[in-house]
C-alpha cells in the first residue's frame, strides 16, 4: 500500500494477529502482561466480534480460563489464574461471559458481594483491598452490575453524587474529585451517569467542547491538552461524544484516516502511526472505527454500543434498555466538526 493511497482496515491480517496472540507464550511481552491476561482476552475477543471473526477464537478455552480466575473467597476475579482479585478484571470476566452468553457459569452472587464490598460511604469505589480510589472503578462497578442485572445492590445515588462532585471547571472529570480532566476518566464518569440516566445533570456542551478540542492536526485525538494523539482516545473520547449526542463535533474522516494509519502492516493497530500493534489499541481502534461508521464496499464492522463497549445484540439479550443520548446540537464554530 503506497503512502498516497487511502488506507483500508486490514481485516484478515488483524484477525490473524489477534488469534495468534495466545500462542506467543515465550515472548517478553506475553510474560510481563500475564497479570492483565483476562482484560487482554476481553479486548481481543471484542475486537473479533466487531470484525465478525469471533468463531476464530476458542470459546471453550477462554471461558474455562475465565472461570479459573474467580477467587472463591471474595467472589472477584483476578487478572490471571491465582492472581489477586480486582474490580477491573471482574468487569472483563463478566463482559467475556456475556459475549459468550454463559454468565450463568460464574458465581454471580459472589461478584455482587465483591463489588458491594468495594463501595465507600461517599459513593466512591476502591479497586481492591489496597484501597485505591479511581473513577475507572466507579464505571467498572456500574457496568458490571448492570450486565448482571444487579445495579440496585449498591448505593447508586451516593455514587452519582460522588461523580457529579468530580466535575471540573472545564466540564471534564479526573481520577477523583478535583483532579485534572482526562479523556479516559471522562469516559468513565459520563458512562456511569449514562447508565444511571443522569446525563442531564452535567453541562454537555461545555464537556463536548473540551472533548472536541482533543482532535489535533494529524486527525487523531489526545486525552488532555498538549499531549500527542493516541488511538485509544478514538474510543474514550468519541464514545463519550456519542453518549452526549455530539459525535458530529469531531472531524470523522480525519479521525478514521488517523486510526487506519496506525495499523501495523502485518495486522493489528498500534497507538501511533509507525508503532507496533498491541491488542489494547487494536480493540479501541476498531471500536472507534465502528462508532464512526467506517465501512468499505466489501466490509462493514459490527456495531458497538458506546456506554458498555459491547455489541447491542448482547445488551438486548441481557434485557438492558437502550439509553437515548441528550438532544444533539450542531457543531459550533471552533470545533473540528463544524463545516461552515
Amino acid at each position: 500500500m503506497s503512502e498516497e493511497e487511502p488506507k483500508k482496515l486490514n481485516v484478515e491480517g488483524t484477525a490473524k494477529y489477534i488469534e495468534a496472540l495466545d500462542r506467543q507464550t515465550d515472548t517478553f511481552e506475553y510474560w510481563v502482561t500475564e497479570h492483565i491476561r483476562i482484560s487482554g482476552a476481553y479486548w481481543g475477543l471484542s475486537a473479533m466480534f466487531l470484525l465478525g471473526k469471533e468463531d476464530m477464537m476458542n470459546k471453550e478455552a477462554i471461558t474455562t480460563h475465565v472461570l479459573k480466575c474467580q477467587d472463591p473467597e471474595t467472589g472477584g476475579f483476578g487478572g490471571n489464574v491465582g492472581h489477586d482479585p480486582h474490580i477491573l478484571y471482574t468487569l472483563s470476566a463478566v463482559q467475556i461471559m456475556c459475549l459468550y452468553d454463559c454468565v450463568d457459569q460464574i458465581n454471580v452472587e459472589g461478584v455482587v458481594k465483591y463489588i458491594q464490598s468495594l463501595q465507600g460511604e461517599d459513593g466512591s469505589f476502591k479497586g481492591d483491598k489496597w484501597g485505591e480510589i479511581d473513577h475507572r472503578f466507579t464505571y467498572c462497578a456500574f457496568n458490571c452490575l448492570t450486565l448482571l442485572g444487579k445495579l440496585n445492590s449498591i448505593n447508586v445515588e451516593a455514587t452519582v453524587q460522588y461523580v457529579l462532585k468530580s466535575c471540573n471547571w472545564d466540564g471534564g472529570f479526573g481520577v477523583a474529585p478535583g483532579h485534572e480532566s482526562h479523556g479516559a476518566y471522562i469516559f468513565c464518569c459520563v458512562g456511569t451517569l449514562a447508565i444511571a440516566d443522569r446525563l442531564h445533570e452535567i453541562n454537555c456542551d461545555k464537556l463536548a467542547w473540551w472533548l472536541a478540542e482533543r482532535q489535533v492536526p494529524d486527525g487523531g485525538l489526545n486525552g488532555r491538552p498538549e499531549k500527542k494523539s493516541d488511538v485509544c482516545y478514538s474510543w474514550w473520547v468519541i464514545s463519550t461524544m456519542a453518549m452526549l449526542g455530539r459525535l458530529n463535533w469531531i472531524d470523522k474522516s480525519s479521525l478514521i484516516n488517523f486510526i487506519l494509519k496506525c495499523q501495523d502492516p502485518p495486522g493489528g493497530i498500534g497507538d501511533k502511526p509507525g508503532n507496533i500493534a498491541d491488542v489494547f489499541h487494536t480493540f479501541f481502534g476498531i471500536a472507534g472505527l465502528s462508532l464512526l461508521g467506517y465501512s468499505e464496499p466489501d466490509m462493514t464492522l459490527n456495531e458497538i454500543e458506546p456506554i458498555f463497549a459491547m455489541p447491542p445484540a448482547v445488551l438486548s439479550r441481557l434485557g438492558i434498555t437502550k439509553r437515548t443520548p441528550p438532544p444533539s446540537e450542531a457543531a459550533p464554530k471552533g470545533t473540528p466538526g463544524c463545516v461552515e
Binding site: G131, W169, E213, G334
Partner: protein, 317 residues
C-alpha cells in the same frame, strides 16, 4: 542467574540511586557514578532475560527485581504490601525502594498507587522534612516526564492532606517558576487550579491573598504568553483565570476577553520562512478564537458590546 543476582545486589546497595536503561541492543549490567550518586545501567536484552527469569521464579527478591524493571507489574507491588502488613512499615526503606522503581518509570500508575498507599499508612507520622522530600521527588518525576498525571495527582493529595504546609513550602511561587520553563506542562497548571480551589473552599486564604494570587497569575501568564503565544496549556489556564475573575473581580472578565480578542485580531497568518513561527502564529489564532468563544459562553459578560459578541461568534481560523 548472574545478571539477576547483580541487579538484586544493586537494589540493596545504599549507594545506588537509580537503575537506568543502558541503551537499545545493549547487554549486561554496568555501574557509573554521576553527580547525585551511583547509577546502574541495564541493557535491553539483559532486562528481558532477567524479567522473564524473575517471573518464572517467584519470590520476594524476584518481586523487587520485577518492580525496578517494570513498575507497572501490579502483583509484585501487592506482594510487597502483604510483607509490610506482616512485618510492619519501614517508611524510609520503602521510599528508597519505590524511588528506584519510579526513577526508571516515572509515570508508572502502579508505582504511584503504591506511593499513595505508603502515605496513607504512614499517615500522621509524616514529618515536614519527609513531606518536603516527597514534594521534591514528585517534582523530580514530573520533570522527567512532563504532564505526569499520577505524580501530579499524588502531589495534590499530599497538599490537600497537609494544607498547613502550603505557605511554608511556597508551592504557588514554585509553580510559577516551574511553568515559566515548562510552558506546555498543562498538568502543573491543573495542579495550581485544584490546589487554589481547595485553599479557597477551606478559607485558607483571606480576600487580599485571593486577589493577590489572581493578579500574580494574570501577570505571569501574560509574560509567558507574550513569549509563547500559541500554546493550548496557557490559553486553557487563561480560561480558568478568567473564570476566577468572574467570582472575585467581575470587571476583569471583559478586560481579559478584550485582550484575548485583540490577540486574535493580531494573529493574522504569518508570512515567514520560519515554519515554527508560522505554526505558532496559526496556533495562536486558533486558541485565541476558542478562548473568546469559550468565555462568551461560560462567563458573564454584560459589558461586552454586541459588535464584539458578533465578532467573537464569527471568528474563524
Amino acid at each position: 542467574m548472574k545478571e539477576y543476582e547483580e541487579l538484586l545486589e544493586a537494589i540493596h546497595d545504599p549507594e545506588v540511586i537509580e537503575i537506568a536503561d543502558a541503551g537499545p541492543g545493549q547487554e549486561g549490567i554496568v555501574r557509573a557514578q554521576d553527580d547525585d550518586g551511583m547509577v546502574v545501567g541495564i541493557g535491553s536484552k539483559t532486562l528481558k532475560k532477567v524479567a522473564v527469569f524473575a517471573l518464572r521464579n517467584p519470590s520476594r527478591q524476584s518481586d523487587e527485581v520485577m518492580l525496578v524493571l517494570n513498575a507497572e507489574y501490579a502483583p509484585s507491588w501487592n506482594n510487597r504490601a502483604k510483607w509490610i502488613e506482616k512485618e510492619g512499615l519501614n517508611y524510609e526503606n520503602e521510599i528508597r525502594f519505590s524511588n528506584l522503581a519510579l526513577r526508571r518509570t516515572p509515570k508508572s500508575h502502579e508505582g504511584w498507587k503504591y506511593r499513595c498507599w505508603l502515605s496513607r499508612i504512614h499517615g500522621s507520622k509524616l514529618t515536614v522534612s519527609e513531606f518536603r522530600s516527597e514534594v521534591d521527588f514528585c517534582l523530580f518525576c514530573c520533570d522527567r516526564y512532563l504532564r505526569n498525571y499520577y505524580s501530579w495527582a499524588h502531589l495534590l493529595s499530599l497538599y490537600t492532606e497537609h494544607m498547613e504546609w502550603v505557605r511554608e513550602t511556597r508551592i504557588f511561587e514554585r509553580m510559577r517558576e516551574w511553568i515559566s520553563t515548562r510552558p506546555t506542562d498543562h498538568s502543573s497548571l491543573s495542579f495550581v487550579q485544584a490546589l487554589f480551589q481547595h485553599c479557597e473552599q477551606r478559607n485558607y486564604f483571606d480576600k487580599e491573598e485571593v486577589l493577590a494570587f489572581l493578579s500574580e497569575e494574570r501577570t505571569s501568564l501574560q509574560k509567558l504568553m507574550s513569549r509563547r503565544p500559541g500554546l493550548e496549556a496557557t490559553w486553557a489556564h487563561l480560561r480558568w483565570v478568567t473564570l476566577q475573575h468572574k467570582y472575585f473581580i467581575p470587571a476583569g472578565v471583559v478586560e481579559l476577553l478584550i485582550e484575548g480578542l485583540e490577540k486574535f485580531r493580531q494573529s493574522a497568518p504569518l508570512d515567514s520562512d520560519d515554519p515554527i513561527a508560522v505554526l505558532e502564529k496559526r496556533s495562536e489564532r486558533k486558541w485565541s478564537a476558542r478562548y473568546c468563544k469559550w468565555v462568551l459562553k461560560n462567563a458573564e459578560t454584560p459589558d461586552l458590546t454586541d459588535e464584539m459578541k458578533a465578532e467573537i461568534t464569527a471568528a474563524d481560523f
